[in-house]
């Protein structure tokens, strides 16, 4: 659901790009504190995975298709700040090299497909884990966060279009949200599948008392829990 140039009015483009710069500034400042060198390979592979997955449109009933957006997944695995920088990089490369999403519409696409997942979807994920500890809360939170972020992102895209006068706000919101109720299922499924793999090989990534992604991967985490079953027991109750 990348917005090309030509769909949004100048004031809407201006506002969304100002908000995007604000979000990127926050993410950079926070990532400087959080990002550990040892997390960089995971950051690269996760970003490349999201890029590749975004190429693959899966068919849905009703003659539409959808692909992963990945913001929620990136925030859960890398932390919201680093996740935000990764999704911004993917969207920027798509706009610059693949004409997928307009250059001027970068801010809008970054808000709708990036921040809404790395902040909104992530907060939902953390809230669910707060109420439901253990692996059930982890997977339920990831699925709900990913699904809600997709639907909210569609509503936000509709708001951009409505405010731009491109389409009537009510009609475009109903249509966009309607289609993305189904597309959100793709988001939730892929998000849970990737997290399921990572829980099996790196459970310490998902320890809630280790909110910093770097700490999670550093050998210190393993040293603190020499028995991997201890980690597993803590994450997967």
């Amino acid at each position: 659901m990348h917005i090309p140039d030509g769909w949004l009015s100048t004031p809407v483009l201006l506002a969304s790009n100002v908000l995007a710069v604000g979000g990127l500034t926050w993410a950079t400042i926070r990532a400087r504190r959080e990002l550990d060198e040892s997390a960089i390979p995971l950051m690269g592979v996760m970003g490349a995975f999201v890029f590749a997955a975004q190429m693959i449109n899966l068919p849905l009933p009703g003659g539409i298709s959808g692909h992963l957006m990945g913001g929620t997944l990136l925030a859960i695995v890398l932390g919201p700040a680093v996740g935000t920088l990764v999704i911004a990089s993917v969207l920027l490369l798509q706009a610059l090299l693949f004409a997928d999403g307009g250059l001027l519409a970068f801010g809008a696409n970054f808000l709708n497909m990036g921040l809404v997942g790395t902040l909104g979807g992530y907060v939902v994920y953390r809230a669910v884990r707060w109420f439901a500890p253990g692996s059930r809360g982890l997977y339920a939170g990831a699925a709900l966060g990913a699904w809600l972020a997709t639907v909210a992102g569609a509503a936000l895209a509709a708001l951009h279009l409505g405010l731009s006068g491109t389409a009537p706000l009510g009609a475009v919101t109903v249509a966009a949200v309607g289609f993305h109720l189904a597309i959100g299922a793709i988001e939730a499924t892929v998000t849970v599948a990737v997290i399921h793999y990572l829980v099996r090989v790196r459970p310490e990534l998902f320890l809630l008392d280790r909110p910093l992604p770097g700490d999670c991967i550093a050998t210190s985490a393993v040293a603190a829990h020499p028995n991997p079953n201890t980690i597993n027991a803590k994450v997967i109750q």
């Binding site: 769909w7 890029f51 590749a52 449109n57 539409i64 692909h67 997928d100 001027l104 550093a218």
Partner: protein, 119 residues
């Protein structure tokens, strides 16, 4: 970073490459959610390109004529994956300050089951 520490990343990297160079050919050509809305509300044709990109529609334009569409798409997918990976390694190096094994003294104390800063 020892070789053993990275082994668990390899399956994810292999899946990523497979998605980009092989599975991408099977992608649905149905309009995605937003494209469908644009058709329905009749504003799809308003879209335009601000600057020429080398790989529009995830195909390397330069290869399409000589080698055909599948090769052009595989090349675009592979370039995209490698460029994303490379860009993020560079960005990660720029942003990260800490060295492995040296905890950041300014980091907040670990909290147990906190709902996150924004919750």
């Amino acid at each position: 970073m020892t070789r053993r520490a990275l082994r668990w990343l390899v399956p994810l990297a292999v899946v990523t490459l497979l998605l980009a160079v092989a599975i991408a050919h099977l992608a649905s050509s149905n309009p995605d959610g937003l494209e469908r809305v644009a058709q329905q509300q009749d504003f799809a044709r308003k879209g335009k390109t601000t600057a020429a990109a080398p790989m529009p529609e995830y195909e390397v334009s330069a290869l399409r004529g000589a080698l055909g569409r599948p090769a052009a798409r595989t090349a675009a997918g592979l370039s995209g994956v490698l460029l994303t990976f490379g860009l993020l390694l560079g960005l990660g190096r720029l942003v990260s300050r800490r060295r492995r094994g040296q905890p950041d003294p300014s980091a907040p104390a670990p909290r147990d089951r906190s709902p996150g800063p924004d919750a």
